[in-house]
């Protein structure tokens, strides 16, 4: 079970918000248009099937994922329904001739967007908690929601029961708002470590 006090929850939420705020700034500067990113909700679920995302199991989603390891280990993912990901990339790139699917270049751009957001979230946590987190290069995957967490490399990490921290993220661009999710997939041990670090940090700061 994941038991967080309100303050712990709030702390993680604030750290994530600081992260996405920085990500929005970077993106905005890169695409030369206002980009706002907010995290309206953070939830913890013990089974992926309990998440809001799993409500549409056959919907095709685009995901950018990076694994991370350090004091806590897991995988961070930025997930959009495929149509939303097309919208996002195209409004960021100001594409006027939309094609039916993401082109290689658009896919790489989406990967960069995911990379910026995930790095910012992980970096914000790492920075404030004072613990370095190593993470991998982002990878891109496109598949049905129900298969989102299937590990196509080994299946070793998927075997342990993951716990999910799910952030609902909202892009506010010039023309439209685009909703997506950031998932932190960790095992129970890692999430307890995260909570422990947060507690320690709070105790230190609020002495």
């Amino acid at each position: 079970m994941i038991e967080l006090t309100e303050l712990e929850h709030d702390t993680i939420s604030e750290l994530i918000n600081i992260g996405v705020g920085r990500a929005a700034s970077s993106l905005s500067e890169m695409v030369d248009q206002p980009v706002e990113l907010t995290v309206p909700a953070i939830s913890f679920v013990e089974r992926f099937s309990d998440s809001e995302l799993a409500n549409a199991p056959t919907e095709v989603v685009s995901a950018v994922s990076q694994s991370f390891h350090g004091p806590f280990t897991g995988e961070a993912m930025l997930v959009f329904p495929e149509v939303r990901s097309l919208e996002l990339v195209r409004s960021l790139l100001k594409v006027d001739v939309p094609l039916d699917t993401l082109t290689d270049l658009e896919q790489e751009a989406l990967m960069e967007v995911g990379n910026i957001i995930l790095n910012a979230c992980l970096g914000s946590i790492s920075n404030v908690l004072g613990e370095p987190i190593n993470c991998s290069m982002p990878t891109f995957r496109k598949r049905e929601t129900r298969a989102l967490l299937d590990d196509d490399t080994a299946g070793a990490s998927a075997a342990t029961n993951p716990v999910l921290m799910i952030l609902h993220v909202q892009f506010m661009l010039r023309q439209n708002d685009i909703d997506g999710y950031v998932l932190f997939v960790m095992d129970l041990e890692s999430i307890q470590m995260l909570r422990e670090l947060v507690r320690r940090f709070l105790a230190n700061s609020l002495r």
Binding site: M30, V89, L99, I133
Partner: protein
């Protein structure tokens, strides 16, 4: 390694990765031959490796850049995202993807010559990676790939997609327009192919050939098409073909299941497509026209009937009136002969009026009979040389002694026309006599001349008489229209009516141009080719 070592016996291996210098040589060579840009940055952000590829694409030698930060190597370039990524990498160990779409020409590198025309800078896909070392802490590597070709392809693809989308829009617009025109055409349009299929193209055609239309119509159309070898021909019921196919105008009767009979004019044209022959069949609803045709036919019949009745009446009346008139005429003449001078003067005068009256009445009845005969006793048309005809007229007048020598003048040659010779004689004799009658008896003169148009002859009879006021030019050809009292000029008032009737029967026209005191010119216009009506009447 161990295996090869043992295989070669005691000989030291020529190359040993465990030997630092060998390894360094190999890795340096590998890095320099790589087809990607490789940069390594020390923890303080200064460059500690810059491979051959970077040297050639940036134009900066390794010696120039070693130990410098990237922003000092490229002072004129805003390295925004690259700098931040390097910072995060060195500080937090975060890797980064730097895509060409979000960062155009992130580093100021030269494109290959073949792209120089359309690209100022090489398009790059960059990976920023932390490298943990035992001795030096976290380094940062940049791997730079040249993706200019991919970007160029992407641009081309989008351009083509845009052009395609444009084309589709245009095609669709023009298709919509064509369809609208087709659908809103009043005529039914169908297309038939040489395999015997017939397809309605618009809603009107669908109506006629559809479920509530005429089940027979497709068969009729197939029958009308020139080439129907694929389907056995069953001639349609004869009452469904309104016109004889020989005339070129095809009219058929559609009998729809909704209970309407629609006469249709069929037009067939053809075109080739897909190496096949197709026919376009246009069906035009001619109900309206048919109704009008019927109406005209009915009116014509009615008119003919009443004309015939009238002629019959005129004939019977004039014929039957002659008998009692002859009796009155004989006895008044007898009275005049026997008793002239034996009664008083007044009696003589009365008898004279009675005789004169009966004579005039006799002439009128004669003329009426002539008039009614024009329609009833016409002879077949033959070529009539008008020169000969006028010779006879002049002779007639001379014999009657009613005209001085040389007052009937012919100017030029007169044509030969098709007609009833005796009626034409009557016509021109009347006109000449008319001209002489209304002229000074001594100086009266009638000139006859002719002209011709592309489809008619015009024969003019001109006098130098009293002329006719224009207000009477129309009415003088009506029966019993006299412009003058009986005392002034002889005549029954039927002569010009007879002329008119004869000209009508010959499919021609008669009119007059005149001014009072300046003579009159009558013009008879006769067609060169007889119209069907006139010809059939002449049979």
């Amino acid at each position: 390694m161990t295996k090869s070592q043992s295989a070669k016996g005691d000989q030291p291996p020529s190359f040993d990765l465990n030997r630092d210098s060998d390894a360094a040589d190999l890795f340096a060579a590998l890095l320099d031959t790589a087809d990607t840009g490789l940069i390594a940055l020390a923890p303080d952000g200064t460059i500690c490796h810059w491979n051959q590829w970077m040297q050639s694409r940036s134009g900066k030698d390794a010696d120039q850049v070693m130990g410098k930060a990237l922003h000092d190597v490229f002072p004129d370039t805003k390295l925004g995202r690259v700098s931040l990524a390097i910072e995060d990498c060195l500080k937090f160990g975060m890797p980064a993807v730097i895509s060409p779409s979000l960062n155009q020409g992130a580093l100021p590198l030269r494109p290959l010559p073949q792209f120089a025309a359309s690209f100022d800078r090489m398009e790059q896909s960059i990976r920023v990676h932390p490298i943990q070392t035992k001795r030096n802490g976290t380094l940062c590597s940049l791997i730079i790939r040249d993706v200019t070709l991919a970007v160029q392809r992407d641009r081309l693809l989008r351009q083509q997609a845009a052009e395609l989308a444009d084309l589709v829009t245009q095609t669709k617009r023009s298709e919509d327009r064509t369809r609208a025109i087709l659908q809103n055409t009043i005529d039914a349009i169908l297309v038939a192919s040489d395999d015997g299929s017939i397809e309605p193209l618009n809603s009107r055609a669908q109506e006629l050939c559809g479920p509530t239309g005429d089940p027979e119509l497709r068969n009729i159309i197939r029958f009308l098409l020139p080439d129907s070898e694929h389907t056995p021909l069953t001639p349609p019921p004869p009452n469904r073909l309104l016109t004889d196919l020989g005339t070129g105008v095809i009219e058929v009767l559609a009998s729809t299941l909704s209970g309407r009979n629609v006469p249709l004019e069929v037009a067939i044209s053809h075109f080739s497509a897909d190496q096949r022959y197709h026919y376009i069949i246009t069906l035009r609803d001619i109900s309206q026209r048919k109704r009008h045709e019927k109406e005209i036919q009915r009116t014509m019949q009615e008119l003919e009937r009443s004309n015939a009745e009238l002629e019959q009446f005129a004939y019977a009346a004039s014929h039957d009136l002659q008998e009692p008139l002859r009796m009155v005429s004989s006895y008044t003449q007898l009275l005049a002969r026997r008793y002239e001078g034996q009664l008083d003067e007044t009696a003589d005068e009365f008898i004279h009026y009675a005789v004169d009256g009966t004579q005039r009445m006799q002439r009128m009845i004669d003329d009426l009979l002539t008039l009614s005969r024009v329609g009833r006793h016409g002879k077949p048309f033959n070529p009539v040389p008008l020169d000969n005809l006028f010779d006879a007229i002049v002779t007639n007048f001379r014999r009657a002694g009613s005209t001085p020598e040389g007052n009937i003048i012919r100017e030029g040659h007169l044509p030969t026309v098709m007609g009833d010779a005796s009626q034409l004689l009557l016509l021109f004799q009347n006109l000449v006599s008319n001209g002489l009658k209304y002229s000074d008896p001594k100086n009266g003169q009638v000139r006859i001349f002719a002209s011709e148009t592309s489809d008619s002859y015009r024969i003019f009879v001109a006098d130098n008489g009293i002329g006719i006021d224009p207000q009477y030019h129309e009415t003088i050809f009506e029966i019993f229209k006299r412009l003058h009292g009986y005392g002034d000029y002889a005549g029954t008032g039927i002569g010009l009516a007879i002329c008119k009737k004869i000209v009508d029967r010959h499919g021609g026209n008669i009119d007059v141009t005149s001014k009072p005191g300046q003579g009159s010119t009558f013009c008879v216009e006769l067609p060169k080719e007889l119209s069907i009506v006139a010809a059939s009447e002449s049979m």
